[in-house]
Each structure stands twice: as structure tokens, then as C-alpha cells.
């Protein structure tokens, strides 16, 4: 898919909306940043490549005016979830979908080049070529993609108004999605507890994960910081950190769209999404529900059913 095709669509929808949210180059060649386009001149600067990692759909609930947003397949699940939860007005949103074969984890690339300053980045079929002062390095995108791309089921957006490119089918088996979770569950209770304790102990409670999460709707009211209710204190103890992550995970039960933004933004490299993925696998098992897939679905935690098909509490 070419950036040219994308620009064409942007120019077409611009007159109809207040803003088109897309990506542009950032402070260096490897960092792409979100871009709020208002004019045809802006559109010229839009980019699309495997470094366009951010989930731009996350901006939608806070925008009042009609907005167009560019989404990859994975990002589109956020929009679907917003629709299920009534957090956006679909008629106020224009969705420009991009079929995507996988993005690049900047963290993995930086690690591969030993954290050298990046001078240039080029792409050549399924590969990324990184130039640093130490020379050029060619990496297969499949080797440096975020984990979510490895099992991606929705390379083509689930909802869109315009599609920049031809739809592509997923080549990854559906069972692979929760394979890592199944693997992890084989560990003993103690191992799993120690794993999370160690990981969450690294947390500095910067709340970047929460702020990047498209489904964290509470914004300034987040109970990680309120005194009424006073669920956790501001102390940097393991218990409080653990509690914060538990709350985050529970609030996302059956809502996490597995966009991986929390992990991407964590400065401490904590596998923040893991617990949420585990809960999602439970939600699938119990309620046969996958978040962000069907706009007509009702999130199971936001309905009141006396009897759930698989939970026979009142069985006569």
C-alpha cells in the first residue's frame, strides 16, 4: 500500500471533517508521531510505513467535532469497542482503514542496533534497514515486530469507510492468539506470582500505560489517584504497584482490545498487557466474547444477566 493512495483518501475526506488524524515523521527517522491534519498542505506530510505504531483511535472519545482517523486492523478493534460501549458517535467519525502486514517495535530495533543514534531508516520488501554511525543493519520486520503482530487475526480493519489498499486475510491460526498465555499457565502458582511481583516491582507509577490505553475512560478520575474512594495510596511499595495493575486489569476485563499500547509506552519494559490478555482468554471461555470484534456485541461486564449461559449460578 502506498502513502500516495492514503494521501488521496485524506484529501477526499478533509473537506468533510474537522481533522484527519494520521502519522508524520518524528524527531528522528525511527520515531513516527501522531499528526492532526487540517489542510491539504498537512496531508502532503502524512506518512504510512511499518513505524506507524500508535493507536490513533484512542483520541476519538475526547473529540467533539467530526474527525477522520487512520487505523490499522488492530486499531480498528478500539473503534468497534467504543461503538459497543457507546463511547463514540459513529456518524461523527470517518474511518480510513489500512490493511497492514505488521509494524515494527521500536524498542526491539533500538536494542538490535545497541541503542546507537539512528541516522536513517529505509524499507525494502519486509525488511527494515537501519543506518547508524556504526554502519547499516538489515532486519526482517517479522523479527522485530511487536508480539501482537505475530498472531494478528485482523490485518484488515474490521470497520472502515475508506480502505487504502486491498483487504488481506490473516495467515495466523486463531488458536495461536492465546498460546503464550497457555504456556505461561503451565508455571506453578509461585512462579507466576514471583514473575508478576518482579515485573510490577519495576513500575515507577508514571501511568503512561494507563494514559495510552484507549479503554481507560476514567481520565483524571482514575482511582489510582483519588482519595474517595481510597483504594491505593501513593506509596511506591510492591503491594501498591501490584494493586494498581490488578485494578487496571480488572477494569479492562472483557474490554482490552489487545492493541498493546500499554506495553509499547512503558518506560520500564513491563509486560503490562499480559494479565489483560489472560483475562480476555477467560472472557472468551466463559462468555464466548472477544472484545472489539463485532459492533453489535454487548460487553458481558456491562450487561446484567441473571443467568449466564456458562455460569449456572441459579441452576434449578
Amino acid at each position: 500500500m502506498s502513502t500516495e493512495k492514503l494521501k488521496e483518501i485524506i484529501l477526499k475526506v478533509l473537506p468533510d471533517v474537522d481533522t484527519v488524524i494520521g502519522w508524520q515523521e518524528g524527531f528522528d527517522k525511527i520515531h513516527i508521531t501522531p499528526f492532526f491534519m487540517k489542510s491539504p498542505e498537512d496531508a502532503e506530510k502524512a506518512v504510512w510505513n511499518s513505524l506507524c505504531v500508535q493507536n490513533l483511535a484512542a483520541y476519538l472519545p475526547s473529540l467533539k467535532k467530526k474527525t477522520a482517523v487512520i487505523v490499522k486492523g488492530c486499531d480498528s478493534r478500539t473503534i468497534v469497542q467504543y461503538m459497543q460501549e457507546g463511547l463514540i458517535d459513529r456518524s461523527n467519525v470517518v474511518i480510513i482503514g489500512i490493511p497492514c502486514t505488521g509494524v515494527v517495535s521500536v524498542k526491539k530495533v533500538l536494542k538490535a542496533v545497541d541503542y546507537q543514534p539512528i541516522e536513517d531508516v529505509k524499507f525494502s520488501d519486509e525488511k527494515i534497514i537501519i543506518k547508524t554511525s556504526k554502519g547499516e543493519k538489515t532486519l526482517a520486520i517479522a523479527d522485530v515486530c511487536p508480539d501482537k503482530c505475530k498472531t494478528c487475526q485482523y490485518p484488515t480493519p474490521i470497520v472502515y469507510d475508506h480502505l487504502a489498499g486491498d483487504p488481506i486475510e490473516s495467515t495466523k491460526p486463531a488458536e495461536s492468539v492465546y498460546e503464550d498465555i497457555k504456556e505461561f499457565e503451565k508455571k506453578s502458582l509461585e512462579e507466576r506470582r514471583d514473575y508478576f511481583k518482579n515485573e510490577f516491582d519495576k513500575c515507577i507509577r508514571c501511568y503512561a500505560c494507563r494514559n495510552a490505553c484507549p479503554m481507560c475512560v476514567c481520565q483524571d478520575s482514575c482511582i489510582a489517584e483519588t482519595r474517595d474512594p481510597h483504594w491505593i495510596t501513593q506509596k511506591l511499595s510492591s503491594e501498591e504497584k501490584m494493586m494498581f495493575h490488578m485494578i487496571h486489569a480488572v477494569h479492562l476485563a472483557g474490554r482490552c482490545v489487545e492493541c498493546g499500547e500499554c506495553e509499547r509506552v512503558c518506560p520500564m519494559d513491563i509486560p503490562v498487557a499480559k494479565l489483560k490478555k489472560k483475562i480476555n482468554s477467560e472472557m472468551k471461555e466463559l462468555f464466548d466474547y472477544v472484545p472489539g470484534v463485532n459492533p453489535e456485541d454487548k460487553p458481558p461486564m456491562y450487561t446484567f444477566n441473571v443467568e449466564e449461559a456458562k455460569i449456572k449460578e441459579h441452576k434449578l
Binding site: 474517595d228 481510597h230 446484567f304 441473571v306
Partner: protein
């Protein structure tokens, strides 16, 4: 803050296994506690006076009573402290009886646990806020659901007491099971003769609005102010015009319609009036059998009906009624005979259920009261009654006793002898349960005067042999196997919850047990109340019971409604959800989960979208509070911080 703590001995109920003096001594050490003591019977008048006196003397402003379950005495103590000038929500109870003293006998451990429970209550009471009830008007109309004998009694008593009554019956006529019975034990008086006048009264009482062949679609609101949506099911006959002449029924060519009233003993017509004494006496078409519906042509009834009442286009209609209280009298159902495979299920026509036999005995039944075998219409001479057909059988999920079967079997054995003097009845029984007035004498009469042979033991198998049915069972008194060649076998099938009982309970927000029977507020002291105020129970919907008890409950429920309506205003419970509009982010997840539809969307002056609780509708269930991600909606008296303070207290011990 000056907390007063009262530890109750409850005689030896608590003091027997909890060191109450030590609990009081430990409580005294907790910061904020100004006074702690233990007392023999805190709920007694002197006990309450002691609390009032201590509030004055020690200048207490919060009270903790460690005693029984708050379901017993919370109200008592709330009133006590209110009389002493405190807000009644400044009371906390620690349940050290049911939760501690009664469930463990290690005094040391019990005492430790009681100290924990008391310290939690102290932590909570210090977080409590004064709450104030608001009052609202009562709509003095009552809804009765179910027109069996219990429901009719309740409706009549309420109506005679001057209330407007809405009676909703799901079948085409009132009367319930009693309308199908032949005679009633223990006096053998004709069932419809004693029920008929009541049915007529229900049909004609100016204060009773009867919706027959109707069901409850939706119940909204709360005690004092319910809005009820009633679905009037399509009868395809305009009841305003139908005179009940029965011409249509006579002429209808579709003769194989299932007869619900007669429990399928014989078929009926597609258009029918269920029984001669039916109230209302109106015809109704069963579209599952009607040729006009099945084949698109016939129309015989429309042509014959002298008043032009037939309307094949009729649709269900929804009407709304407003009431202030509800009496549930939906009765019971009978176990599906098909489950009883060892008795052949329903494979053998000459193995029938007790209620079907009742219809065979009945002069207005399909055989005009002649007992005959369904298979060949001959008169049976040997009849075997099998009690507990399904009842008291854990394996099929009916571990309880159906209550009235022993009695009606005795009745049916007596009536059988009356109808066929040269007949012989056998009764297989586990125990004879006949504890009512005149009941035991009655079962003895069946044996001694009417010669029914009672065999103590279970029937293991019933199978056909030629024209006879072989009933094989144990005689546990003689310790032998017995086999009886019977002409007819009558199974006393178990009483089970009425069809749709669970769904109805959900609509009413009342609880039901594992069997689907409705749960009363207190098994001894509040037998017709439910835990949802404004909803009362009558009759067999609460558990199998005979006619006298059902009628008694109908009157009792009516008395409760009349006493509730003797006031003009009711007080609302302030322990309901409240939204902190500063914290609310307007995600409206709470609105979606509230089972009572008590939450609406609201817009603040700033334009901010927030959730709003309709005070009078909120039932204080707390579902919203556990849904709200930011804790913006809090259940008053059970806020997150109040609960967290209890958790902290117990973690610090």
C-alpha cells in the same frame, strides 16, 4: 468521635462460646472507642435503655452492637439510638452469633474472631455518614398474580377491605388446581361447589379488575409505586362480545386439541371454554390446533358465533396498570411423568397421574365422573396408588415432600370405593404424612372403612402384561417383594415450582430456592413477606401446601397489604447509590448494568454528561458501584471507603 460498643451475651447463645467480657475489653483499647460493655440481652427493654443511657452519660455519637444478624435486630437498635437523638445510620452491628458463636465451639478462636468482627464494625461506624429518608405517596392499588385459590382469597380480602385489585391469571379461567379437583380432603366436599362462589365473587366484585389469559410482561418501580405491563394474550375471540354460549365449541371440527384444563385426559376442541363453571366464561381459540390457523381455511366458528365475536386477526395487547403492592400466588406445577421411566413414563395409557385421576372422578370431567381405563374405557377393579412418585427422591432433584399427596391418595381411594363398590385399592407409601386437623383419622378411614390396602414400600417397576399393569414393589413391613396385577395405576406425581417461576422471581426481584419455590422473608416470623418490600407471597408458590394453608396465606398476604396501605406515605431507604458528578466521566456503564433501570443520563450545566440515580427506583443492590471504574457512583452506607476501612481494620489485627 465517641464510639460506644455493646457486646451481647444473647443468654448463652453467644456468651457460651465467646468470651464477651474480653471482646469488650479489647474494644475499649481501639482508638475512638469511648465506652464498651457486655450485656445479657441487649435487645431487651433494659438492654436498649442501657444503650440510651450510655449515649447520654458518655456523650456517645456512634454505636456498635455486637450481637445477632442485623436481619434480626438492626431495626430495633436503629430505633433505639434514634430515640436517644442519634442519626439511625450511626449504628453498626457485628454479627457474632450466626457468624461466630453458632458455627464454632473453640472459645479461644471464637473470641479472636469476635474481636476482629467488632473492630471492623468500629472502623465502619466511624466512616458512617448521617443519612435521611425522604417520604413518598403510596398508590393504594394491589396486583395479585395468579388466580388459584390463594390468589383469589387475597384478591377478595383486599377488595372487601376497600382496595382496588388487579388480578392477573395466565390461564383462561381462575381457580387454579383446585378448580380441577373432584372432592377435597378431609371433608370430601365438592371442590368446585365451595370454590365456585369465590370464583363468581372474583368475576363480579366491582373492586377487582380481572385479566384472565394474561401474563406479567414487565414490573417497574418500587413499593408504593409500581408500573406493571400486562400482556393480554390473543384469544381470537372478542370477550366483550362473547356470551359463553358454547355454540362455537360444539361446531368446531377440530376435535383433537390438547385439553390443558383436563391435563390431557381427553381431547377438546380448538375453540373451547375450559369448563362449565369457568370464570370468565369465554371461548378461546388454540391456534396450534385451529384449522383456520393451520390450513388457512375453516372459519366455522366465525360463521356460527351469534355475536360475531371471533377475530382471527387478534393480536396480543399490552396494558399498563399502576399499583402499590404485589401479592404473588402463582401456585405450583406437577412433575412431568415422562421422567419416571421406571414407571413407564407416559408410555402406558393406564398409568396416569393423580390430577388426571381427579378429572376422571369429577362429574364435570371428560368421563362425567365414570372411572374408566384410558386404554379401553372399561371400569378398573384393581387400582394401585403410588405415593412419592418423584417426591423425596434426590436423584431427580426433588428431595422434599410434596405435602398433600398422602392425603389426596386417601381421598381418591375412598372415592374409588364409592364409585366402584367391588373395587380394591392398593396404596404404596413411604410414610403416611397427615398432620392436619382430622387428617390422620381420614387416612385411617380409607384403610379401615374403605378397605384400601396400604403397603409400606417403594414401587420399583411398572410394566404391562396382557391387559393388566404389573406393579412390582417392596413390602418393607413384611420384608418381601410384592407384585400386584392392576387395572389402573395412579402416580402421585411430585409438586414442583410453577412453570416460569424463576423468570417471574427475576421480574419481581424476589429470591427463590433451588427448586424454584419463592423464599419468604423469615421461615417462621415473616412467612408471607419477601425480602423485597411491597411483594408478598400466598399459596403453593412458596412451597407445596394444601388448600387450607393456601387460603390462610391468601388472607395473611391481604392483611399485610391492608396494613401497608393504612398509611398514606412511605419512607424511602437512603442507603442507595449516589453519583459524585465531579468524578463521573459519563461512560454510563452503570446505566447499562443497573438491574432496576434506576440510572439515567444527565447533563450538568457545564455540558458534562454524567449518570444520575432515580432515588425512588434504586434498590441499593450495588451492582453499579462495582461496575463504575472510577468509583464515582457509591452506595450510601456501603461506600468503597467504608468497606475498605473494615478491610484495613481486620488486616491490622
Amino acid at each position: 468521635m465517641r464510639v460506644g460498643v455493646f457486646i451481647c451475651h444473647c443468654g448463652s447463645n453467644i456468651a457460651g462460646t465467646v468470651d464477651v467480657a474480653r471482646v469488650a475489653a479489647e474494644a475499649r483499647k481501639i482508638p475512638g472507642v469511648a465506652f464498651a460493655t457486655n450485656y445479657m440481652y441487649t435487645c431487651s427493654e433494659p438492654g436498649q435503655d442501657e444503650i440510651k443511657a450510655a449515649i447520654k452519660r458518655e456523650n456517645l455519637d456512634r454505636i456498635v452492637v455486637a450481637a445477632c444478624s442485623p436481619r434480626m435486630h438492626e431495626n430495633t437498635f436503629r430505633k433505639t439510638i434514634q430515640k436517644a437523638g442519634l442519626n439511625k445510620y450511626f449504628l453498626e452491628m457485628a454479627n457474632i452469633r450466626e457468624h461466630i458463636a453458632w458455627i464454632g465451639n473453640d472459645k479461644e478462636l471464637n473470641t479472636e474472631k469476635a474481636i476482629d468482627a467488632v473492630s471492623m464494625a468500629i472502623a465502619k461506624v466511624m466512616q458512617n455518614k448521617p443519612l435521611h429518608a425522604t417520604s413518598f405517596k403510596i398508590n393504594k392499588r394491589v396486583l395479585v398474580i395468579g388466580g388459584g385459590v390463594a390468589g383469589m382469597q387475597a384478591a377478595l380480602d383486599c377488595a372487601d377491605g376497600g382496595l382496588d385489585v388487579v388480578l392477573v391469571e395466565k390461564s383462561p379461567a381462575v381457580g387454579g388446581i383446585m378448580a380441577r379437583l373432584d372432592k377435597t380432603f378431609p371433608t370430601i366436599d365438592c371442590s368446585i361447589c365451595i370454590l365456585g362462589p369465590k370464583m363468581v365473587d372474583v368475576g363480579q366484585h366491582e373492586k377487582i379488575k380481572l385479566f384472565a389469559y394474561s401474563e406479567i410482561e414487565e414490573i417497574k418501580g418500587y413499593i408504593g409505586n409500581y408500573q406493571i405491563k400486562i400482556r393480554k394474550k390473543a384469544t381470537y375471540v372478542d370477550w366483550e362480545k362473547c356470551t359463553g354460549c358454547g355454540l362455537c365449541m360444539e361446531k368446531c371440527p377440530s376435535k383433537n386439541s390438547y385439553d390443558y384444563f383436563n391435563f390431557g385426559v381427553a381431547p377438546t376442541k380448538a375453540i373451547n371454554i375450559p369448563f362449565p363453571q369457568a370464570i370468565p366464561k369465554k371461548a378461546k381459540i388454540d391456534p396450534n390446533y385451529c384449522r383456520q390457523f393451520l390450513k388457512g381455511k375453516c372459519g366455522v366458528c366465525a360463521k356460527i358465533c351469534p355475536t360475531g365475536a371471533i377475530n382471527y386477526e387478534m393480536k396480543d395487547e399490552i396494558v399498563t396498570e399502576e399499583v402499590g403492592a404485589i401479592v404473588v400466588a402463582t401456585g405450583y406445577g406437577l412433575l412431568d411423568q415422562n421422567i419416571l421411566t421406571e414407571y413407564g413414563g407416559t408410555r402406558y395409557p393406564d398409568v396416569i397421574s393423580g390430577i388426571q385421576y381427579e378429572r376422571l372422578l369429577n362429574a364435570s370431567g371428560p368421563t362425567s365422573g365414570h372411572i374408566e381405563r384410558p386404554s379401553d374405557h372399561t371400569e378398573p377393579k384393581t387400582i394401585v396408588f403410588v405415593s412419592c412418585a418423584g417426591s423425596r427422591d434426590k436423584s431427580i432433584g426433588v428431595p422434599y415432600c410434596s405435602g398433600f399427596c398422602c392425603m389426596y391418595i386417601a381421598k381418591q381411594a375412598i372415592l374409588t370405593k364409592d364409585h366402584i363398590p367391588d373395587s380394591q385399592s392398593y396404596v404404596f407409601y413411604m410414610d403416611i404424612r397427615s398432620p392436619g386437623k382430622g387428617y390422620d383419622e381420614f387416612t385411617r378411614r380409607a384403610q379401615e372403612e374403605y378397605g384400601a390396602q396400604y403397603i409400606r414400600g417403594r414401587v420399583s417397576k411398572i410394566y404391562p402384561k396382557g391387559k393388566k399393569m404389573i406393579v412390582r414393589g417392596a413390602d418393607t413391613l413384611l420384608g418381601t417383594q410384592v407384585e400386584i396385577e392392576a387395572d389402573l395405576v395412579v402416580l402421585a406425581t411430585a409438586a414442583i415450582a410453577a412453570e416460569g417461576a424463576a423468570e417471574m422471581a427475576e421480574k419481581l426481584h424476589i429470591s427463590y430456592d433451588t427448586f424454584g419455590f419463592y423464599v419468604e422473608s423469615h421461615p417462621k416470623l415473616r412467612p408471607v413477606e419477601t425480602n423485597t418490600s411491597g411483594v408478598f407471597l400466598a399459596g403453593a408458590c412458596q412451597g407445596p401446601k394444601d388448600i387450607p394453608s393456601s387460603v390462610g396465606q391468601g388472607s395473611a398476604a391481604a392483611a399485610k397489604v391492608l396494613s401497608l396501605f393504612s398509611r398514606d406515605m412511605l419512607e424511602s431507604d437512603p442507603a442507595i447509590a449516589q453519583v459524585n458528578t465531579n468524578a463521573c466521566v459519563g461512560c454510563l456503564k452503570c446505566l447499562k448494568t443497573c438491574p432496576f433501570q434506576a440510572i439515567v443520563e444527565d447533563t450538568l450545566r457545564s455540558g458534562k454528561k454524567v449518570a444520575k440515580v432515580i432515588e425512588t427506583v434504586c434498590a441499593g443492590c450495588g451492582v453499579c458501584t462495582s461496575t463504575c471504574p472510577c468509583g464515582a457512583i457509591q452506595l450510601q452506607h456501603f461506600t468503597d471507603n467504608q468497606l475498605l476501612s473494615e478491610v484495613s481494620a481486620i488486616c491490622q489485627m
